[in-house]
Amino acid sequence: MKIAVYRLLFLAALIGLWWLASTQVARNLVPSPLATLQAAQRLIAEGRLGTALFDSLSIYLGGYTVAIFLGVPLGLLMGTIRPLGKTLEIFVYALSATPRVAFIPLIIVFLGLGPQAKILIIFLGAVMPILINTYAGALNSDQDLVEMARSVGAKRQRIFTQIVLPGAVPFIIVGLRVGATIGLINTVVAELYTAVKGLGGLLAIYGNTFRMAEYFVVVLTLALVGVVVTEALRFVEIRLGRWRRSEVIV
């Protein structure tokens, strides 16, 4: 409870600073909180914000979901089948070190400017942290526990589902959280570089025309999406980690 109060106080201080900045910076580059609120009401009433949010969320969740469904199983496979992991890991690390933005022209050539291209760009950003963290989690499985399971006669499949997989969960959640953030960043990047749509599209339009109040509304919406997604994942993490009595941070 105390933390909630502190957070609200900090938020009030941030808005205060923002307001101060809006009065000090010339040429309306920083809109006042009030002007931003009015712009938000306008955008919502016109339905522009809703449409853009829906566009962005649908490609974001599309790309992110594909990343989860490919990244987690592949990471687990690489972690449990050692030759596979050792073969692939160097390529995975190479790809994750390459700025995925570099692929955008190529993606546009193959997939055009539509949602497929956007989903692929988001996928490429989100899948790497998910894959690498899941892999690390599976590699990090407690060998003592695995031996204990073997000694009671547990089969490979049961050792995997009851020892290796639960042991990797904290790592997987970290991967999902980082992947969610990078996925959101790539959503905006995709909307800026391909067909200008969604929240990224609004950013481009309002940024280029110096409509800063509307611009701020879009930025704050993106921040809000980020908070909602990471908080949801944290909730999952706490639910799954109830056995870790001492480390739960509420």
Partner: protein
């Protein structure tokens, strides 16, 4: 004389029960053997454990005691020699219960879940499995904690859970790897009595690894004294103290005192003549 030259057969009684665990000429090397590296953990070990016997493997660290347990369980295979358990090649499973020094409880499972984990192969029915787990949790006195997670338990309680898990499948063989080494002294004494009680209730073969002389004498029918580098069996000694041993002061018995001073002497010599030991070549009898 307490123990003559190595007599690996243990009880020389022709009416003794059949051997449950049999090791013949067993050797094991760890590490890379191809380029002459690697360490010889066990060299040419013979060991016979008869049915219903409580046998301790006693010796300083580095004499391959744990390696023997893991091979008897079938977790690792010997490089040379043969091992038979109940007349067959060793295979991990519910017929053997393993108690590890580091407890090895599943942290995300409750106490009950941990005990049930060892029963999945033997008891398919969920309700039945749960009933069996609860029975053994009660036997080690942890009924109140059946739903607790391992992180909420003390070291002694964790080891009781591990004991319940090993006993719950009602194995013919109990393998215990220094189970009380990481428990404080008072709890350890209580746990030793607890183990003797449980073992008396349902006599299985117990193979108990320890480096505590007192613990070995207190618990065992036979003590297998082992030496380090390479690990080998030096001598097998019959303890010959009356059971149950928690009804009288075993430590005051002349036989206990005699055995203890003899074993201490042997182990001290082993440690002082082991070049790998911290105490190698030191004269511990000299005045300060």
């Amino acid at each position: 004389m307490i123990g003559d030259a190595p007599q690996h057969t243990g009880l020389a009684d022709s009416e003794a029960p059949a051997p449950r665990i049999l090791l013949r000429g067993v050797s094991k090397t760890f590490g890379n053997q191809n380029n002459g590296g690697g360490t010889l953990a066990l060299a040419n070990v013979d060991l016979t454990v008869r049915d219903g016997a409580f046998v301790s493997l006693l010796g300083p660290s580095g004499c391959g005691k744990t390696t023997i347990l893991r091979m008897v369980n079938g977790l690792i295979a010997p490089d040379a020699g043969t091992i038979t358990v109940s007349g067959q090649a060793p295979r991990p499973g519910p017929d053997m219960g393993f108690v590890f020094q580091s407890f090895r409880l599943i942290p995300w499972s409750s106490v009950r879940g941990n005990v049930e984990f060892a029963l999945v192969e033997t008891i398919p029915g969920k309700a039945e499995r749960r009933a069996r787990a609860d029975r053994y949790i009660e036997l080690v006195g942890l009924s109140r904690f059946a739903d607790a997670y391992p992180s909420e338990l003390s070291g002694g309680m964790k080891q009781r859970v591990a004991l319940a898990r090993a006993l719950a499948s009602e194995p013919a063989i109990l393998l215990l790897d220094e189970p009380f080494a990481s428990i404080d002294a008072q709890t350890r004494e209580l746990m030793q009595i607890e183990l003797m009680r449980l073992w008396t209730l349902r006599k299985s073969v117990a193979l108990f690894v320890t480096h505590s002389v007192d613990e070995a004498i207190l618990l065992s029918d036979q003590i297998v004294l082992m030496g380090p580098r390479p690990g080998r069996v030096l001598e097998v000694i019959d303890v010959g103290l009356n059971r149950p041993r928690w009804t009288y002061d075993v430590r005051a018995e002349p036989r206990f005192i005699e055995l203890r001073s003899y074993l201490w002497d042997r182990i001290r010599t082993l440690v002082l003549t082991d070049p790998q030991s911290d105490f190698y070549g030191r004269d511990l009898s000299a005045n300060i």
